[in-house]
């Protein structure tokens, strides 16, 4: 409660301090106002901590993924049958797997592949969703109804099941995995973009643009698409962790990336039997790395979302 009271007095002082010549003050005020009711999520020490820890972890993982193969002159693909299933120790920080590969290197290589797949999935599904949503919202009528029923249909089928079908049709490859995840996850973006376009379409400035001679396509290009970019970008980033898990699940089931490509899912799938022989680290340590990475990505994404959305609100001066 105390938080709410202090922030409201701050807000009331803003117009006198700001005025039309101080847009920056307005913006920060709007951001503060929007963040206040959800202080534990949107602003304050917890959010700053989440941002710092998330960004630092991501940076450390990125540096590790790039530098590790160079540092020891090691290759994650090197098999060493003299050192099979070694527990974590000074030689192998994460231990070794069933064929004597260094798990630390393998896990980082897997993370690299997983994040690549996730970024591709997020970009493809967001673009697909944005196009479907924009067309649905801008054209309306039967097109809208058909596309939205398509969204419902895709949503009604379990994502993993649909993904498995797509991978089964096109063999395990990077393209198939990306397609199977992207084709099942564009629906959320489509809904968000559609509702955004529907509300924008009613604005008088769209009427003014039509009156000024703008074509349908120009209205979409100049007014509607730029307005949905922030929302779509946030959806894309929030999709990243989810896509990583999907890829892992598919690879774990043996339906994802081909076995020679390191991926966390492949490592876990291969290590399943080794657990019974006591080699817990083959499953546990790469999983921990995966969890840390996805938490870091979603932490950064959430901070970005909280900062972006209030700013848009203040630009509309609502």
């Amino acid at each position: 409660m105390a938080d709410l009271v202090t922030s409201s007095t701050e807000d009331s002082s803003v117009p006198s301090a700001g005025g039309p010549t101080a847009p920056a003050a307005w913006r920060s005020a709007a951001r503060r106002r929007a963040g206040t009711p959800r202080a534990s999520i949107g602003s304050g020490r917890a959010a700053r901590l989440r941002w710092i820890v998330g960004a630092a972890t991501l940076a450390a993982l990125a540096v590790g993924a790039v530098l590790l193969p160079w540092l020891g002159g090691l290759d994650e693909r090197v098999l060493d049958y003299a050192a099979v299933r070694r527990p974590p120790g000074p030689d192998h920080l994460f231990g070794t797997d069933e064929t004597g590969r260094d798990l630390l290197l393998l896990a980082f290589a897997g993370l690299r592949v997983s994040l690549l797949v996730a970024v591709l999935c997020a970009v493809v599904s967001t673009m697909l969703g944005a196009v479907v949503g924009a067309v649905s919202g801008a054209v309306g009528g039967w097109t809208d109804r058909l596309l939205m029923r398509l969204v419902d249909t895709v949503n009604a089928v379990p994502h993993l099941l649909l993904g498995i079908v797509i991978v089964a049709l096109y063999r395990g490859s990077l393209t198939a995995v990306v397609a199977s995840i992207a084709l099942t996850h564009w629906t959320t973006v489509a809904r968000i973009v559609r509702s955004e376009v529907l509300s924008l379409r009613q604005r008088p400035y769209i009427d003014a643009a039509i009156s000024g001679g703008a074509s349908r396509w120009r209205v979409v290009r100049r007014h509607l698409l730029p307005a949905v970019v922030p929302q779509a970008a946030i959806s894309a980033v929030l999709l990243l962790p989810h896509a990583v898990w999907h890829e892992t699940a598919l690879s774990f089931l043996g339906l994802g990336l081909p076995p020679h490509m390191a991926s966390i899912g492949n490592i876990l799938g291969d290590g399943r039997d080794a657990v019974l022989l006591g080699a817990w680290w083959i499953v546990v340590l790469p999983s921990v790395l995966l969890i840390v990475a996805t938490l870091a990505v979603s932490g950064v994404a959430a901070t970005w979302r909280d900062r972006l959305v209030p700013r848009r609100r203040s630009e509309l001066a609502l």
Partner: protein, 215 residues
């Protein structure tokens, strides 16, 4: 001449807002339109600016009947009628600078010539400085924004101009300034103006004729 005959229009089926309205905007004349809230002033404005298709009746633009509305209307017909709305805040894209707001119709309709020069000329007419043209909507006042909206409406030299409660949000001096700009446009181009307002005293001094819409 911009005319509407027997116009019936509305938003909910079975509940027309306009039921059989006749209106005639003559070149070189300011036609005032008054009436209480909800009587259909804005709906009539949207029909006459070709932004809303009437359910019945006919709109004629310089004698030619208008059969298609919004995007379907030919660009020459759409741009022949300029429009200024009541709320400047909602009438401009929040991402545009005022310069982009004013230039957009010229770019959208592919008008040849130097757009930048024309924007400067229009800004001078409506009283916007070069510095204001660089700002975005949230950085200017309602009055300054409405000046930009008027400049935008005049940018294609429309033969008719519909001002839908253009001055309702503005103070007296800004109102007077914008009315002078519209009058200058009428004098120099012989355009016809439909001035919608609920302010009888304003219409008394501004309009050549005043028409009343019954609720």
């Amino acid at each position: 001449m911009l005319t509407g005959a027997g116009l019936v229009a509305g938003y909910t089926r079975g509940h027309p807002v306009l039921s059989g309205v006749d209106v005639e905007v003559r070149p070189g004349e300011v036609l005032g339109m008054a009436g209480p809230s909800g009587c259909g002033k804005s709906t009539l404005a949207r029909v006459l600016t070709l932004l809303l298709a009437p359910w019945a009746g006919e709109v004629r633009l310089d004698g030619a009947p208008v059969r298609r509305f919004r995007h379907a209307a030919p660009r020459e017909q759409r741009t022949a009628v300029g429009v200024v709305f009541q709320q400047p805040r909602l009438s401009v894209d929040p991402r545009f600078t005022l310069r982009e707001v004013v230039a957009e119709p010229m770019l959208a309709s592919g008008r040849a010539g130097d757009v930048a020069d024309r924007v400067d000329e229009l800004a001078d007419q409506v009283g916007l400085t070069a510095e204001l043209l660089r700002r975005r909507p949230h950085e200017v006042s309602d009055g300054q924004l409405q000046r930009a909206c008027l400049a935008r409406a005049l940018s294609l030299r429309p033969r008719y101009l519909v001002c839908d409660e253009m001055t309702a949000m503005l103070d007296a001096s800004t109102t007077a300034a914008l009315v002078r700009v519209v009058n200058a446009h009428v004098e120099s181009t012989g355009a016809g103006v439909l001035a919608i307002s609920h302010d009888d005293s304003l219409l008394g001094v501004w309009a050549d004729r005043v028409m009343r819409l019954a609720p």
